[in-house]
């Protein structure tokens, strides 16, 4: 009996070491490990598996090369960087790069500061009901789809009876331009739509930053005789500088992303020369025309530029004494 007991104790001790190392935390919190299973599987399937598919950019890939999906990857011949060469020397590349960068740069100049300006204005408003009502209104368009934004644009700017052009005609007395088909007006239209849709919602983060600026600084400034603009320049803007820089870095990481839906919906045969961007190029090349390798290569190029921009701008921000993104 005693021999049996001591043996049981000994084995308990041995498994105890093992349990403490691995099984014990799992056993203590087995529900946490059960919780994690669906999310873990989702990440593997929809995040890590597609990463392996990026090998297409270095292959002459066709889904018909093998009998199965994995077989298609195995049987497709590797061609090194020749897909990238085709991409960079192709007739469309420079035009698409130029269109993408034009939209991005103009949106950095006009669309990026818009929520900051609106947040600063809202911050100056003393009437609480007025502030609350305007905020509720300006958040709304964020929750509207791009299809509806495109529809509203078409209805408002319709050349025959759109409300905006009608007003312009009455005020200025001349025929207003057709913004839907004029290539020269494509970029302003895209930026204008983005500003209308997201400016209000974009203020949330800046208003949060403004709320954390120390009130005593303003009081001290008023005692010193500072006017509104001096307070803005010396207290408010430095107070939200960190937030602005982080948002700017994030925006720079998106220089190659113009968004599929908006551009796609506003694109038509008249403005194609200026509206073809990387996102639409990737879609037409791969999903429509079946050239998966070229689309993947363009996507990879896009991601690399984005990553480079984030790293570079973060380093730049740190050099100027800011905390940056990481």
């Amino acid at each position: 009996m005693s021999e049996f007991k001591s043996r049981a104790e000994a084995s308990d001790k041995n498994t105890g070491v093992f349990l403490r190392g691995f099984l014990k935390p799992v056993n203590d919190h087995k529900w946490l490990y059960i919780f994690v299973i669906p999310g873990f599987l989702w990440m593997v399937v929809f995040c890590f598996v597609p990463m392996f598919a990026l090998v297409m950019a270095f292959q002459n890939f066709s889904p018909y090369n093998g009998t199965t999906m994995i077989g298609a990857f195995v049987e497709s011949p590797f061609v090194g960087f020749s897909i990238f060469k085709t991409l960079f020397t192709g007739p469309d590349f420079l035009r698409i790069l130029k269109n993408t960068l034009t939209i991005s740069i103009f949106s950095l100049i006009f669309y990026f500061p818009a929520p900051i300006i609106l947040a600063l204005l809202l911050n100056e408003i003393r009437s609480y009901p007025f502030k609350r009502i305007t905020q509720t209104i300006v958040y709304i368009p964020h929750f509207i789809s791009w299809v509806i934004v495109a529809t509203l644009t078409a209805q408002m700017f319709n050349t025959s009876d759109g409300i905006i052009l009608h007003l312009l005609k009455e005020v200025m007395g001349r025929r207003a331009p057709d913004i839907m088909s004029n290539p020269k007006l494509f970029v302003p239209m895209i930026i204008g739509q983005s500003m209308w849709k997201e400016t209000g919602y974009g203020t949330i983060i800046y208003l949060a930053a403004l709320a954390s600026v120390d009130v005593q600084l303003y009081e001290a400034a008023v005692v010193d005789g500072a006017n509104r603009f001096q307070k803005l320049w010396h207290i408010t803007l430095p107070g939200i500088r960190g937030t602005i820089i982080i948002m700017f870095i994030l925006k720079l990481g998106q220089v190659m992303n113009t968004g599929y839906e908006q551009i796609f919906l506003m694109q038509n045969s008249m403005n194609r020369s200026v509206s073809d961007v990387f996102d639409t190029y990737i879609y037409t090349r791969s999903v429509v025309n079946g050239n998966y390798s070229l689309g993947t290569a363009a996507g990879l190029f896009k991601s690399f530029v984005g990553m480079f921009m984030v790293i570079a701008s973060n380093r730049f921000a740190k050099r100027f004494g800011e905390s940056g993104l990481y």
Partner: protein
């Protein structure tokens, strides 16, 4: 703002003029935001005659429900609404299930494997594979074309939304959990009875974000769904607006003469109908989402 309210020094007239200007600019922006909605709502209730004769109005003279009648009878908008409703409802449930179950363990410091999982999350966040590999996986690999699963699964977890929930869980006081554990609760009980009920603001705002993205999604539905019976409302809206303008532009088609629906009013009514569900959800959840966005951004 407390900063502006606690001011004690008397404001100068110049300051007050500036203040008036600020109110005017903000009000103008709010009006600019609202104007398209008012225009479209007014137009959807107008007669076709008024729409062609009087371009600029915000209140129709003759009130008409023809456009809405047409939508009810034509069926494809209703079908689109029904499909979108299914997609948004089921999709949001899937999203919330996947996001909360992943967020909870990630928020617990005693969870072994937390760092490894967080690394996986960050990789997913920073290095998305892109459109083409995802399309290959969904269309060719999993063969989900023409299935709503193609709209539910690829966006199953939005990592930003998941991190909002995780940060909210982390902010819930440790003592509540310890007390529950002393009372004999296990992790499942603690999660369901304590963390989920206490996280309503974060869960409500993230649900809204997910629901909105499902309701508004156009591109994915366009890529993956070609079956008309599974058409979602955004696709239907796009098709109706594109189609009606093609017919009238090409042939000078007289809608009224054939007893057909007023073309412009139908477009506007369709726009209104496709927008309403999200706008109805908005006031209920608005008080939560500002909080939700800030939790996500301040600590994220």
């Amino acid at each position: 703002m407390p900063g502006t309210r606690s001011r004690t020094i008397k404001r100068s007239p110049f300051d007050q003029v500036q203040q008036v200007f600020i109110y005017i600019i903000v009000a103008a922006f709010a009006l600019m935001t609202l104007l398209p909605f008012i225009y479209v709502i007014a137009g959807s209730f107008a007669t076709e005659r008024e729409l062609t004769e009087r371009s600029f109005f915000l209140i129709p003279r003759q009130f008409s429900l023809n456009a809405y009648e047409y939508i009810l009878n034509a069926g494809d908008v209703l079908r689109g609404l029904k499909n979108s409703f299914i997609v948004a409802l089921v999709g949001t449930c899937i999203n919330m299930f996947l996001s909360t179950t992943l967020a909870y363990p990630l928020s617990r410091t005693y969870f072994k494997g937390r760092n490894f999982l967080m690394m996986m999350v960050l990789i997913c966040l920073l290095f998305p594979a892109g459109m083409v590999p995802m399309y290959m996986l969904v269309a060719n690999g999993l063969k989900l074309k023409n299935s709503f699963w193609a709209l539910w699964l690829p966006g199953g977890i939005n990592m930003f939304n998941m991190i909002i929930i995780k940060n909210y869980f982390q902010g819930i006081p440790q003592e509540l959990e310890e007390a529950a554990r002393i009372d004999g609760a296990n992790d499942l009980n603690i999660f369901v009875r304590i963390f989920l009920p206490l996280s309503k603001p974060a869960l409500a705002s993230v649900s809204l974000f997910y629901a909105v993205s499902h309701w508004n999604a156009y591109f994915n539905a366009m890529m993956y769904i070609s079956d008309m019976s599974k058409e979602v409302v955004q696709i239907a809206l796009r098709r109706i607006i594109f189609l009606t303008s093609m017919v009238t532009m090409d042939s000078g088609f007289d809608w009224g003469a054939f007893g057909l629906p007023p073309e412009k009013a139908v477009k506007m009514a369709t726009t209104v109908v496709a927008t309403i569900p999200m706008l109805m959800l908005y006031p209920f959840i608005q008080k939560y989402f500002t909080q939700g966005v800030m939790i996500g951004s301040v600590k994220g």
